[in-house]
Amino acid sequence: MIRELSALTKRELLRLGRNPQAIATSLLLPILYLVLFGQAFNLNNITKLSPYPVPPSVFLELYRGAPSYFSYFSAGMTGFVAVTATLFIGANVIFDRLFGTLKRTAASPATPTAIFGARLLAGSVQPIGLAFLVLGLSLLLGHIGLNGLDITASVGVLGAAEIVGAIVILSVMFASLFIAIGFSLEQPQTYFAAVNAINLPVLLTSAALYPWGILPVWLKNVASYNPITLAVNVLRENLFAGASSYYPYGPGVYLLGLFGWAAAMFLIATLLARRALSPRR
């Protein structure tokens, strides 16, 4: 099982490494968001239009303790790339089925768990890497005179572990979700239609982009359970000093909720993969 898993994971990583276009494409979206959207959409600039001084507490309330919209938003983008970077993982399952590669693997003694696990492991590498790239780029932008991520809290070992944990669990969750869809559908067109039906609603019902303070109550209620929100809550509570007072729970609770999402998706994906790879009835 371990040998099969490592051989199949190596295969997936080799394929990923040999497809630089896919990596470049997945980089493009977060870079555009950070360099264009994040720079243009700076809500703090509203003070320039206001005839009255806007108290800093308003912005802290708006961004749940983050010092600026960009800082708030860049933590959100770190979570959102877990979605964008895992989109194609399920499509690969479909293409592998169409091109016969999956048939070959399924006809081997490799267990469905190893086949699914390898895709999950390799599929989580890219979003995790991308998430840290977004964090790094956001920090860098602040050092070259642009809006950047301003980490105002001192992040300890536990905080760093919680941040890494949130990114990893979120990536595994979305990788599981898209692999599950890939094993359930046969046509790429249907897959991309399904992905589009998930992608935007998940983003737009999360707290990744919206300043929390101006969200309507009903959307706050919906967003509170969104896995992206759960992950970015962990990041924001750890990155910004005093942020915890704006959140009803500590990072551990959000991590637990996120873990629940990931476990559910993992279970569903495992069952669907087992069904797809078992002798057909």
């Binding site: 051989a7 199949l8 497809n19 590669t101 070959r104 006809a107 003694p109 009835r281």
Partner: protein, 337 residues
């Protein structure tokens, strides 16, 4: 004798209505090359999918290499080799990486992997392209790579599902040469499905003909041809003469005579030896002959005899087949049986 493959009452129905395989039974002896012959949609690939643990049956039993296929599909996958009709090697991996991956999945001992991969690359004549991505391989190279992937773990039973589909005659000849070498060197049992009659005739020790999910005949190629009653001598007379048919029937050794559009089809076990007597019978009946032809029974006729319809070999012209037969025969240094 314990059979390599033993199938009893195997059936597969899709969606409750389409009976792709309908109550078939057969056995394959150890070390034998067994051909499963039939047109597209006859049930060949479904049978392979059933016997290789990829498909659950509607009814029946199958034992391959001593293991119950439907009770232990995972064990079956470990024991058999399988070459699909389509290319399944990973295009984004090199030939070497494809073989190494297969070695890991089939549990080849780590210390043996390198040697086995090198030996197969050489044997399959893809050593020079071993480190090139499989997507750059020609059709023939990909087929040989597929065969290499299928036998990396030295299986005792090898399933080949229309393995030469889409290959040119030289590619086919080369592919079958490797298969024959494997059989000779390892005593491997080979179960091959194909819709190329000539390949079955040249490669297989025994064969079964499947049509519409039923096995309609099985045996050696010679046995099946013999069941047709021997050769067919066709004569055309200069003019119709009813007495000719009676005279022909009286020739010793003639099994049957049928008149057809001004010509006569005469069945006889050794047609070439009867031609002088047939000519003499016509002359004695007072008519001259405009043509005489002798046709030895082929699997085409066997197929026609047992299925009641002509063989549907899609997209292959008689010329293609003639060229292929000639080249494949040449590769084996054998004449067509």
């Amino acid at each position: 004798m314990t059979e390599s493959i033993q199938v009893e009452g195997l059936a597969k129905t899709f969606n409750g209505t389409v009976r792709a395989v309908d109550n078939i039974s057969f056995s394959v002896h150890p070390g034998e090359a067994f051909g499963f012959l039939g047109p597209n949609g006859a049930g060949k690939t479904t049978t392979v999918n059933l016997l290789t643990g990829q498909l659950a049956p509607t009814a029946g039993h199958a034992v391959v290499d001593g293991v119950d296929v439907f009770r232990h599909p995972a064990e079956i996958k470990r024991r058999i080799g399988l070459v699909f009709q389509e290319s399944t090697a990973d295009s984004d991996l090199t030939g070497r990486e494809n073989l190494e991956l297969a070695a890991a999945l089939f549990g080849v001992p780590r210390r043996e992997v390198r040697d086995r991969v090198e030996a197969l690359l050489e044997r399959m004549q893809i050593g020079d392209a071993a480190d090139r991505l499989a997507r750059t391989y020609s059709g023939g190279m990909r087929r040989r790579l597929e065969l290499g992937v299928g036998i990396i773990h030295s299986p005792r039973v090898l399933f080949l599902d229309e393995p030469t589909l889409g290959l040119d005659p030289q590619g086919r000849a080369g592919f079958w040469r490797y298969v024959q070498e494997l059989r000779k060197d390892h005593g491997m049992t080979v179960f091959v499905t194909t819709h190329y009659l000539d390949e079955v005739d040249l490669i297989c020790d025994r064969l079964a003909i499947i049509d519409h999910g039923h096995i309609v005949a099985s045996g050696t190629s010679s046995e099946l041809k013999d069941r047709l009653g021997g050769d067919v001598v066709t004569i055309r007379t200069e003019r119709p003469e009813p007495a000719v048919e009676t005279a022909l029937r009286a020739v010793p050794g003639v099994l049957s005579v049928s008149a057809q559009d001004g010509s006569y089809r005469i069945k006889a076990p050794k047609g070439e030896q009867l031609i002088p007597a047939i000519v003499q019978a016509c002359v004695q009946s007072g008519v001259g002959l405009s043509s005489v032809s002798l046709k030895r029974p082929s699997l085409d006729e066997v197929f026609l005899e047992f299925t009641g319809h002509e063989y549907r070999e899609d997209g292959v012209t008689p010329t293609d087949r003639a060229v292929r037969v000639s080249q494949v025969s040449q590769a084996f240094g054998r004449s067509r049986r």
